[in-house]
């Protein structure tokens, strides 16, 4: 199984890490250079963790487990009004991104009101395009309990955040309390710690999902699909959208128009076979992008 790690260090001799990854079948997911500092998202085979730690230690860098690398998370706010945005949804999304995830903020059309609250079919499908959904709810316990219908039928793991301190909430994988509605950026140590807790809980949910997927592994790892899409369809790297080829737990999102590029993406060759032979390629509800979902070995 691949383990995802965040490397922080200098540019000096960082090629040693890249060469090591090539040798052991690991991948560089993303590289960010800020001045002389380097941040890299890496995917490394589990059995090689000891050796890469040694290399990073020699380079005086820092290596942190980052299970959220390679995931796409939807942060769902009840509406797009100032009651719910930018705080706390954007604070949560920012913290998730600091831990390696790619995030999209979704504002529901009718996520308010105890009686009228609901998620439309399209909203549900849009949320289910992601690997995890984080619903940011408010301050009143009774209200939160009435809003479980927002996510009860969502088929991806759901994490709920809210003000009340509770252990769990029906319909969700996990609940993080102490983050309700608040009107300014999280500045205190306590509130930032809460944001980190959301990222930690999301990491645990992702790890659990990956362990489950390991029982029936995907035909090919999504990171290989990403690399081949970028290599064989150069337009994918030239797209102006951020993260034009976004890695997900079970596939990739390619930010190119579906109608113009679906055949080209489907014809990508990996290991002598076409991508469309072992992946489902469909239109995303998000701007007609392309969703590639790799099938498990049992289906092939």
């Amino acid at each position: 199984m691949l383990k995802y790690l965040l490397f922080e260090g200098g540019l000096y001799k960082h090629e040693r890490i890249l060469e090591f990854l090539e040798d052991v079948g690991g991948f560089l997911v993303q590289k960010t250079v800020v001045g002389l500092d380097l941040i890299m998202n890496l995917a490394v085979p589990e059995e090689e963790l000891g050796r890469i730690s040694g290399i990073v230690s020699e380079l005086k860098g820092k290596l942190t487990p980052a299970p959220l690398i390679g995931t796409e998370i939807a942060v769902v706010a009840p509406t797009l009004s100032r009651h719910h945005l930018p705080h706390p949804a954007c604070d949560i999304a920012e913290n998730l991104r600091r831990h390696g995830a790619k995030t999209n903020i979704i504002g529901l059309s009718r996520g308010v009101g105890q009686k009228i609250v609901h998620t439309t079919i399209k909203e549900k499908e849009l949320i289910e395009e992601h690997d995890i959904a984080v619903f940011t709810l408010g301050n009143f316990e009774r209200c939160l309990m009435k809003k479980t219908k927002l996510f009860a039928e969502i088929e991806v793991p759901v994490i709920v955040t809210g003000g009340p301190v509770m252990k769990s909430i029906p319909g969700a994988e996990a609940y993080v309390g102490g983050i309700g509605r608040y009107p300014e950026r999280a500045r205190t140590g306590e509130s930032i710690e809460k944001l980190r807790e959301v990222s930690r809980v999301a990491g645990e949910v992702v790890e659990q999902r990956r362990r489950e997927m390991d029982l029936d592994p995907l035909i090919v790892d999504p990171i290989i699909v990403k690399a081949e899409v970028e290599r064989q369809v150069p337009e994918s790297t030239e797209a102006l959208s951020p993260n034009p080829v976004t890695l997900k737990i079970d596939g990739v999102r390619v930010k190119l128009p579906y109608d113009d590029y679906k055949d080209k993406i489907g014809n990508i060759s990996i290991g002598g076979k076409k991508l469309s032979d072992f992946a489902v390629i469909k239109r995303s509800l998000m701007r007609n992008y392309i969703l590639v979902k790799v099938l498990p070995k049992s289906m092939f």
Binding site: P78, T79, S81, R82, H83, H84, V112, G113, Q114, K115, I116, V117, G138, N139, F140, E141, R142, C143, G163, P164, V165, G180, R181, Y182, P183, E184
Partner: protein
């Protein structure tokens, strides 16, 4: 100018406390610190019911800096002491426009120093033509505080006070009675 008094009576105590914080930050964001006397909230999530009563100082429009402030001469310039924080934005804009930013310095919450200026000239400087629309700002404050799902609203306005009853359901008579009691309760 005293501290704003905020009272919350909520059936969900923890949730209600957070609304005190939301009210404080909303007042700050809207620059209403000098105008608001008190905010009182009654929250019954089980009904659902949210009543908010905001008491504030009515402000008459001020046309010139001379109307809105006290001006005295100092060495090398003049000191302007505004009567209310709500004129600060317009005063600074007008002074910057006339004298330039490097000659105008805000030395306190209500004080501005202008170097090399004539007091009589400054007194005549006009503030915003539109005048200060406090009512719409107070309404905006209430809208920002009241939870979005409480869409059915009934408001009462009196001199220096606005009371809003908000719910998901049609407004009941007993709620109007609760609001009346809140309006009469001055917490003196």
């Amino acid at each position: 100018m005293g501290k704003i008094r905020i009272f919350v009576d909520s059936s969900d105590e923890l949730g209600g406390q957070q609304y005190k914080y939301i009210a404080e930050k909303s007042v700050e964001d809207l620059g209403l610190g000098g105008s608001i006397d008190s905010i009182e909230m009654l929250i019954r999530v089980e009904e659902p019911l949210f009543i908010i009563v905001i008491r504030y100082k009515e402000v008459t429009g001020k046309k010139t800096l001379g109307d809105a402030s006290y001006i005295d001469s100092r060495k090398n310039g003049i000191r302007i002491t505004l009567s209310s924080e709500i004129f600060l934005g317009d005063a600074l804009k007008a002074l910057w426009s006339k004298y330039g930013r490097d000659r105008v310095e805000q030395i306190g919450r209500l004080e501005i120093f202008v170097s090399g200026a004539d007091p009589e000239e400054v007194k005549g400087i006009g503030l915003s033509e539109k005048g200060y629309d406090l009512d719409s700002r107070i309404n905006e404050l209430a809208t920002r505080i009241i939870p979005e799902g409480f869409r059915v609203r009934s408001s009462t306005k009196k001199k220096g006070m606005i009371a809003i009853i908000a719910s998901e359901d049609p407004i009941r008579e007993d709620w109007r009675e609760l609001a009346r009691r809140l309006e009469e309760n001055t917490h003196a």
